[in-house]
Amino acid sequence: MEGHPPRILVVIPAYREGRTIGGLVRSLRERYPHDVLVVNDGSPDGTSAAARKAGAIVLDLPCNLGIGGAVQTGFLYARDHGYDVVVRIDGDGQHEVEDIPKVLEPILGGRADAVIGSRFLGETEYRGSIPRIFGIQHFRWLVNLFTGYRVTDPTSGFFAINRRLVDFYSDHYPSDYPEVDSYILMHRLGARALEVPVRMYDRAEGKSSITAFRAVYYMVKVTLSFLINRIRRFG
């Protein structure tokens, strides 16, 4: 990065995370000098107020856009305000705050455009249900077949990206379930993607956005949009 120390923005999409977001923002502010941006995806439960109180920059979406739309708003903010690197983590305590330097380091060293935290690399305590493991295996295979990236955790929402990807994602990012699709987008851009081992926990509060009933829809939708993105033009 030229001259100045890189400006880093931590983006947290949040929907109904009022009970956990404050603690998360506080621990980020205590540990790191980075700015923290919480994108409140139209939740009515005090998420914004809690995040603001803890010292985050808060964007309030006037209606619920879905996780991808919320994260993209964070990318737009980073682009408009000249941040060099964006780290994206979940607002529910699923991701380990202490692992942020691990996803940042290869980007700051100029060795990667995107670094994705994987719960399956290295020592792992993560135990998923059988259908979830099956789904992850399906997407691993899909990503590898169509992009050549060798991924272990294709649905990970813990990653860091550099300016180049921030610019690209600001214009092209799926509204919902963006993680698997983003490999196609990175592939299109010829981005260097790297996985590093991180810790992930079961959700502290609330429910995962993927319920049993939605699992099949998720698989079909993501597979379809992945394949369509493969043959889509990006202007």
């Binding site: 914004s48 107020a49 993209q72």
Partner: protein
């Protein structure tokens, strides 16, 4: 002229006039009215010239002309529905961009919205 012919002429002419009136009052945008106008004009023509229907049906190999009419009708409805799906997708995309832009503008202007006002909407 038999009763069925008279009925179908009246119905299709009424439909055509209704669409035109909606466009005139700006309740229906011109771009969305094209398919409807085209469809109702087609029905009107086929009501007036029923032998054309027979000729058309036979031309595509359909023996029973009314079933050709059903086929055309169903295809027309499908076309209109696809048209709507495209329009909705476009609106969805625009809506997303507007919402994002609003959130960014608000943050830059330092306008904090309390969640009470969010809930009222």
């Amino acid at each position: 002229m038999n009763r069925v012919t008279l009925f179908s002429i009246c119905a299709s002419a009424g439909f055509l006039l209704y669409i035109l009136e909606m466009v005139r009052r700006r309740k229906l945008r011109e771009e969305y009215s094209i398919l409807w106008l085209f469809g109702s004009a087609l029905i009107l023509v086929l009501s007036l010239k029923q032998d054309w229907l027979v000729v058309l049906a036979h031309a595509v190999g359909i023996v029973y002309p009314p079933s050709f009419l059903f086929l055309v009708g169903i295809l027309f409805i499908l076309l209109i529905l696809i048209h709507f799906s495209i329009a909705i997708s476009k609106l969805h995309q625009m809506n997303k961009k507007i919402a994002q832009e609003m959130a960014l503008l608000r943050a830059d202007r330092g306008v904090e919205r309390t969640e009470e006002t969010l809930n009222k909407r």
